[in-house]
Amino acid sequence: MIDEDRLLTALAKLLKRTKADGASVCAHATVRRVFRFAYGAIHQSLVQEGVNVIVKVIRDRRVGIASADTLEPQGLSRCVRAAEQIARYSPPQEHLAPLPARHRLTATADHVPATLRVTPESLVGSLKRLFHLCQGAGASLAGSLVTGEDEFAVANSAGVRCYAASTVAGAKLVTMFGRLSGYASGVHRDVRRLDLDALLKRSLSQSLHRREPVTPPLGVYEVILEPEAVGELMAWLGSIAFGAKSLAERTSFLAGRLGERVCDRQLTIYDDGNDPSGLRMPFDFEGTPKQRTVLIDRGRAAGVVYDTAYGARFGRSSTGHALPYDETEGPLPLHLGLAPGRTTVARMIRACRRGLLIPRFHYVNGLLNPREALMTGLTREGAFLIEDGRVTAPVTTLRFTQGLLEAFSRVRGISRERRLVADPGQELGSAVLPTLHLAAFRFTGRSEHK
């Protein structure tokens, strides 16, 4: 761990080195330990440590950006000089938003030393136990087990000094039994609370079904989407519709529709970087505190997220959703949430006459027709047919092609219980999501090969 003092001191020294009119610097230090395994063997074990520092300097309204993977003074000096040199060549920007000013941040307690202290031997021991359990059940296991740490810091010449540290532990478990397979994943800040046995049990429950997979006819089905499946769709909604850039370019389905009803009134979608049940990050890469931003409010298009540049363009304040300075995607929501409902998954299944229970989607793509939020993707492990209120048989891989606004306009139920959905291998982003019961979802293809 670098620690708050050392990281912010390095950034403050770097700011002093520049002769620019203004400067901002963000740093991300990361540690990841990753084990990947398949068929009872560990085929990858790695530890990755690094730091990335990005400097933005402003001189005569000209901006220069440079980054380096070091905290060493010489490397940082080179980085500042490169940014200043770039600024000299940059054309002046007419609408340059001011740097965010100093602000107060709520301290978080997301750094759990036990997650960092866990030894490779202990993690391998956990995997050995899972391999045994799986073997005992007659199934094979593949997956990954990750532990890690992140430190984010932002400082600027307007007085901003922000720091947040966190740990993460997560696992993905794919179990295979003949033609059947199951999947479960989990993430926690504290490795001791990552319940690998429960995950294995969930994955095995899908792969040890007594019936062989069936191939249902293509068409429209009721679907019960578990949080990971909802997460795939929400991530795409976030990138194609909920950022100010897509609103400005009018590619977002929210463009021209703010205030209008766009989906079922049961749906409220928001972004909340301070939600302790997610992998929160209290500020963005400009150092602006994260604001809870409602995107869909009881079915109505409510808004998008902003950084300072797009905020200035729309006459609004930043909502704290800036990405690193060298990204050109514009502001994006990285901590999406879907408000809980009142029902349970068991009740959803009982209420379903004929439908599909889907734990996760594979390879979703939301670029087909973003104005209609038309998406495609496939089922993967653990998808089941529901008939007359009962889960009856696993189903083979199916492809959906569906406009999300249409699908989200007929919500039959939202679960009270929500789950944290995140990839522990990635530094940023998580979602807190319920299970969603939709009345109609179109399946257009199947994966067949003889």
Binding site: I42, Q48, G50, S90, P91, H362
Partner: protein
């Protein structure tokens, strides 16, 4: 930005140290990467950034198990600590792994390799690059319908030093240049996008600034803008089975998803099951499975000049080579590593191990996966088509976890009626099953229309590694394909 020279003594010393510690095998890789990224939007430069990354990755094989650790610190103590971490991880994994992991043999090499580059893009004055970028960008502007016009350039300079306990010492310098344009137009509720020369980050090649000049961004900008405006008035394609002719820009994505990925041997052996899935091309089918029609020959060629999947040696010291993946319709080869090749009884690695950077271990990656050219002109491919479509420039992509069921949309299409190209169609979508689709390939375009493309963002692995891979293709014709409008 800095002194990119590798700490040769430190790297070689660390390798010797690991050998003395009795590991089965180890390699140490130092990398230094410079990346310049320039963006202009709506007639003004919006982003200029330069990133520098350097460090050392240590990979150890101990009692049949791998361990990998990396550090940006080049001090002797930091490197020794990193090597210790890699060894500790390998030792921990070895308490589980029972079977050894032999490596296919490779002769130790002491070599230098540099990609071709006439004009080092990092020597070209920034002002000159920006002038050209803005010229191309402003050419996209004009009509009221234009919502956003973007132009970008990317330049990479990567130096690698590889040392192994088997005695290899390999220096490589790889320079890449690329550029692209995108215009978003809108009329009422209709929004369309057109890119040049390709979508998803444009075009990228091993080479210098001369490559960007050859792209003719300004000429391409006018065409892209006009085609985007045509799309606002265009009709969608009819739904149903039809004949498709894919422009090389779309064949690239078809090759990438439905041939390149399933031919990765680590994936076929189950090592990607927790992320992107497996492969229908299992080792039992090697040499026996019919992948496509006899017109279809696909190679993985790491030796081709200009390809972003080209190199002198891969990241485990195996010389670059050309490997047949599909020969006249039959699946005959894999992209492979020393370990995966050995596991299925191949005598040598296919030389496809590459890492995104110093801080991650190499994985089996596509090199330049190319559809070998045929002899037909575009007109000859269209001949005899009563009704079909010519589709260009990928817009969306999706394929299942065994790489069978795929669905693509493209930015633009043209109706083909009685063998002639007709009106523009918007939002075309097509779908199929990989071996069925390639089995219906009834023609491949000639070498004169064959072109090599670079994709800078091929995702694989945990932690996810984004790799630069190449694909070469000409036009290709497919009969009996399911097409539909993406609405």
């Amino acid at each position: 930005m800095s002194d990119p020279s590798a700490p040769r003594d430190l790297v070689a010393g660390l390798t010797r140290q690991l050998k003395r510690r009795g590991v089965d095998y180890a390699d140490v890789r130092h990398e230094h990467l410079l990346h310049e990224h320039l963006v202009a939007e709506d007639g003004r430069v919006t982003s200029i950034s330069l990133s520098e990354s350097a460090g050392v990755g240590v990979r150890v094989l101990h009692r049949g198990s791998w361990g990998f650790a990396a550090t940006p610190h080049l001090a002797r103590a930091a490197l020794a600590r990193t090597a210790g971490q890699a060894l500790a991880l390998a030792r921990a994994a070895a308490t589980v792994n029972r079977s050894p992991r032999p490596l296919a043999p490779v002769a130790p090499a002491r070599a230098r390799h540099a990609s071709r580059c006439a004009i080092d893009p990092f020597d070209v004055p920034l002002a000159k690059k920006l002038d050209y970028l803005l010229w191309a960008n402003t050419t996209l502007l004009g009509p009221d319908a234009v919502q956003r016009a973007t132009a970008h350039m990317d330049f990479y300079k990567r130096r690698k030093l590889f040392c192994s306990t088997e005695g290899s010492v390999i220096d490589q310098l790889l320079i890449e240049s690329g550029a692209g344009l995108e215009v978003v137009v809108q009329s009422g509720d209709e929004v369309q996008v057109r890119s040049y020369p390709n979508s998803h980050h444009g075009a990228l090649a091993q080479g210098g600034f001369e490559y960007v000049k050859q792209l003719d961004l300004v000429g391409g900008a006018s065409t892209a803008r006009e085609e985007a405006l045509q799309l606002l008035r265009a009709k969608p394609p009819r739904a149903g089975e039809t004949t498709l002719i894919l422009d090389p820009s779309q064949v690239v994505m078809q090759l990438h998803e439905s041939c390149g990925h399933p031919a990765e041997l680590d994936r076929a052996l189950g090592q990607e099951l927790s992320y992107a899935g497996g492969s229908f091309l299992t080792p039992e089918g090697l040499g026996r499975v019919r992948y496509g029609s006899p017109q279809v020959t696909i190679v993985a060629d790491a030796t081709i000049p200009g390809g972003v999947g080209s190199f002198g040696f891969d990241d485990e010291g195996v010389p670059a080579q050309r490997v047949d993946l599909v020969r006249e319709g039959y699946f005959v080869g894999y992209l492979s590593s020393r370990e995966s090749a050995s596991r299925i009884g191949l005598s040598a690695s296919g030389g496809a191990m590459r890492a995104e950077g110093w801080d991650v271990p190499p994985l089996v990656r596509m090199t330049n996966v190319n559809l070998e050219p045929g002899t037909a002109t575009l007109e000859e491919l269209c001949r005899g088509v009563r009704h079909g479509y010519l589709l260009a420039t990928n817009k969306s992509w999706s394929i299942d976890d065994r790489r069978l069921n795929f669905q693509f949309t493209t930015e633009i299409g043209w109706e083909i009626v009685d063998g002639r190209r007709g009106a523009v169609v918007k939002n075309p979508l097509y779908t199929g099953i990989t071996p069925v689709f390639w089995g219906r390939c009834t023609g491949v375009g000639r070498r004169e229309d064959w072109r090599l493309w670079g994709i800078p963002n091929c995702a694989k692995g945990e932690p996810m590694q984004s790799m630069h891979v190449g694909h070469g293709a000409s036009y290709a014709r497919f009969d009996g394909v399911t097409a539909a409008p993406a609405t």
